[in-house]
Amino acid sequence: MPHLSLDRRDPATQSEGVVPGYAQTSQRWPSQPLVRRPQTQSELTGPQNLARRLGTVRGDLAGHGAKRALGQLIHVRARVVDEDGVPVSGAVVEVWHCNAAGKYIHPNDTNDAPADLNLYGAARMLTGDSGLVELRTIKPGAYPVPDTGGWWRPPHVHFSVWGKVWLARLVTQMFFPGEPLNEFDAILNAVRDPEARARCIARLAPTSQGPAVALVYEYQLVVRGRKAAPDMP
């Protein structure tokens, strides 16, 4: 059965359109207004067992011993909840990020920064009953964006998450607190509402909590939809 219809996106807490300083947006975002459509069963259902299609692996990118990736060891606790704050269990979560020098393992990355043979910067995980995934990795570096006259991306981790229904898909980026580049980033600052921006920045947990060797960051991902656990009658 379909879920309840979803509330419309709030343009102040979501970014869209052509963004100053991010040239590709003017080639790619539609010029015509987006069409408002009714929400039917087709949009209010979604794959419930995506992990059977997309294999998951443990969220350990940092490696161990001689195979440890270079950089500051971090432990990211990311929780997926719906708009009621109900944890979304069994949700597939994909993460990817660059190495401590700002280099991605990707053929399209032309940044002249060294690769780290011990860092494979991508993982796919499944949330548990509390909606939580835990990622052990190293803190990614900042890097310059080519042909932009000085735009540097602040350190960030990409997230791709599935809520319970087709319309609840969420792809976003997690930022780190206290990074001076956060203030100038064309992507983070395209979100107009300052509180919505602040929610995109992870919280550093007290260093007395969690594994003593890693800095712990906590992050909450809110997917669209309400009462994630039960299907609506």
């Binding site: 419309r8 996106r9 709030d10 807490t13 979501q14 970014s15 359109g17 963004v19 040239a23 947006t25 080639q27 790619r28 975002w29 539609p30 010029s31 015509q32 069409v35 408002r36 459509r37 009714p38 929400q39 039917t40 069963q41 087709s42 949009e43 259902t45 979604g46 794959p47 419930q48 995506l50 059977r52 299609r53 997309l54 719906d82 708009e83 009621d84 994909e94 990817w96 660059c98 393992i105 990707h106 399209n108 990355d109 910067g121 991508a122 796919r124 791709s160 087709w166 898909r169 969420l170 792809v171 976003t172 980026q173 992507i187 983070l188 921006r197 929610r199 995109c200 809110v222 997917v223």
Partner: protein
């Protein structure tokens, strides 16, 4: 209970791991089971304002099975592809059935560098009465109808500019 505001979506960027889009564009086999229904291919090219074909666009689809049911044991109905260097994506699937007042259709979601958030559109198989197709201005409705070439349905997507594909806000 205090309502939480959905997290701001952000661009997928240019570095989505290539292996995340491999082996996920054939919907006709799921968990070792073959889907019932008419097997079809969907092929399309994604272009931007200046007409350039776009490489590594992530395209995800969601559809009903041949009888119009969602997410059953034989057919999950979800798939993902990435465009190649010629801007072309491909899916192999079964033709969805009509259901709940909807004409047969496939939901599309696009993620790409330069798109601040996901773009949603819908592919139809023929002009038909459908509440989502009817929401689109009449003059551009034909852009949502795939062109049939044998067992291949061609569905090109223009993000912006001449022949721009209609996209939806939800």
């Amino acid at each position: 209970m205090k309502r939480l505001i959905p997290t701001a979506e952000m661009t997928i960027g240019p570095f989505f791991p290539p292996e995340f889009t491999q082996g996920t564009n054939d919907l006709t086999v799921f968990d070792g089971r073959k889907a019932a229904g008419e097997v079809i291919e969907i092929i399309g090219r994604v272009t931007q304002l200046d007409g350039k074909a776009l490489d590594n666009v992530v395209v995800e689809i969601w559809q009903a099975d041949s009888k119009g049911r969602h997410d059953n044991a034989e057919f999950q109905g979800w798939g993902r592809a990435a465009t190649d260097a010629d801007g072309v994506y491909r899916f192999r699937t079964v033709k969805p059935g009509a259901h709940d007042g909807r004409a047969p259709h496939i939901n599309f979601l696009l993620l790409y560098s330069g798109l601040m958030r996901q773009l949603q559109t819908v592919m139809f198989f023929s002009p038909a009465a459908d509440p989502v197709l009817d929401a689109v201005p009449v003059s551009v409705r034909p852009r949502l109808i795939a062109k049939r070439e044998g067992t291949v349905y061609r569905f090109d997507i223009r993000l912006r500019g001449d022949g721009e594909t209609p996209f939806f806000d939800d």
